[in-house]
């Protein structure tokens, strides 16, 4: 979608055109969803639907005040981030579980690469919860929203090199988390 088309859709949506609003959201939905999932993390997965509904409601209500000084995608990203962070700050911390116990990985430990695709997905989902929020956001935007490093940098307002570092360090961290003996012993519980 070109910038002109997007501006036209924003203007129409601001005038109450539901079809234009849906077209805008259809284009940027994966970005908003990835950010909300990244900030809430797997432990607050149950809140994702509520936050997403709130994000789109706030987006629609705020369109009249959107001056187009930034891209619509950046604006939506900020709304999604703000709403998700708001929910996180309101929720009390969950009680400590086996997953919260940080056990340093031994150098010889490696994730079990023979895991089935479904198992690996669940492991990654769980391990994502222990990542630094910045790493998780960069990874979710990269894979869940299928954004390029340049687009992620634009959204997160960071240099492209920093975003690449976040994604690569995040993956190193994921591998380390999944290499922990506690995780390896706990494998049966996730499948």
């Amino acid at each position: 979608m070109s910038n002109d088309q997007e501006r036209d859709l924003v203007a129409r949506a601001a005038r109450g055109d539901a079809r234009a609003f849906r077209a805008l959201i259809a284009t940027h939905h994966s970005t908003a969803y990835a950010v909300v999932r990244a900030i809430l993390g797997p432990r607050r997965f149950d809140d994702v639907d509520d936050v997403m509904q709130l994000v789109y409601l706030k987006t629609y209500q705020g369109l009249a005040g959107f001056r187009g000084e930034s891209k619509f995608s950046t604006w939506l990203y900020q709304i999604a981030r703000r709403e998700a962070l708001d929910v996180v700050s309101k929720r009390t911390l969950e009680s400590t579980s086996i997953d919260d116990v940080v056990i340093p990985a031994r150098a010889s430990d490696l994730p079990d690469t023979t895991l089935g695709e479904s198992d690996m997905k669940q492991w990654i989902e769980r391990a994502m919860g222990e990542l630094d929020e910045s790493y998780r956001t960069a990874i979710e935007l990269r894979y869940m929203a299928e954004k390029s490093y340049e687009e992620i940098a634009d959204l997160m307002r960071l240099p492209v090199g920093t975003v690449k570092t976040y994604v690569h360090r995040g993956k190193l961290e994921l591998k380390r988390i999944m290499s922990r003996p506690a995780w390896r012993e706990h494998k049966g519980a996730v499948s």
Binding site: P111, E117, Y143
Partner: protein, 177 residues
């Protein structure tokens, strides 16, 4: 000839593996990492782990649910999806659709009820009475054309094509959504 990367410690190589799997390394770095993992079983195993992880991460796109589920009710699209028949009916009842019908109806009236074309023979039906007012206008048009069937057909034909083409273009826009 050996190179410095082959002797780099495994930790440094492992740090480069995520970028290697994503093909983000420059060719020279990529070939050096490749050379290292081929001669180092531990790093080869780590590469395998990152490759499996990459394949799994790529599928995260499939976890994004449809956006419609999160829209406020007033903005959500109708759950009813009109069939092609209903869409056609909608087109027909749209303004351009009605234009087509009117053009066809006018053509029928001109041919059927013009005194100049029918020699003044009229059937007195309810419809005739209803269209009496229209008939006077039609007769005026036919008179203007001099009662000549060829001229009248040509003018009507050109007008009808222009109206139907523009109505068709507008209809397509109307139906597309």
């Amino acid at each position: 000839m050996t190179n410095r990367f082959e002797h780099m410690d495994c930790e440094r190589i492992e740090e480069m593996l995520p970028a290697f799997v994503e093909h983000e390394l420059v060719p020279k770095e990529a070939s050096l990492v490749r050379a290292h993992v081929e001669s180092c079983p531990r790093c080869g195993e780590a590469l395998q782990a990152f490759t499996v992880m990459e394949r799994s991460l790529v599928t995260r796109r499939e976890e994004v649910p449809p956006f419609e589920a999160f829209l406020p009710p007033a903005l959500a699209p109708s759950r009813w999806h009109p069939s092609i028949f209903v869409r056609s009916l909608r087109a027909l009842t749209s303004v351009p659709g009605m234009a087509i019908v009117l053009v066809m109806w006018a053509g029928f009236l001109i041919a059927r009820y013009s005194d100049r074309l029918t020699g003044g023979v009229l059937e007195k039906t309810t419809l005739d009475r209803m269209m009496a007012f229209a008939k006077r206008g039609i007769d005026a048009i036919v008179s203007a054309a001099g009662g000549d069937m060829t001229t009248l057909t040509a003018v009507y034909g050109a007008l009808a094509i222009a109206v139907i083409v523009s109505a068709g273009a507008l209809t397509m826009r109307f139906v597309r959504d």
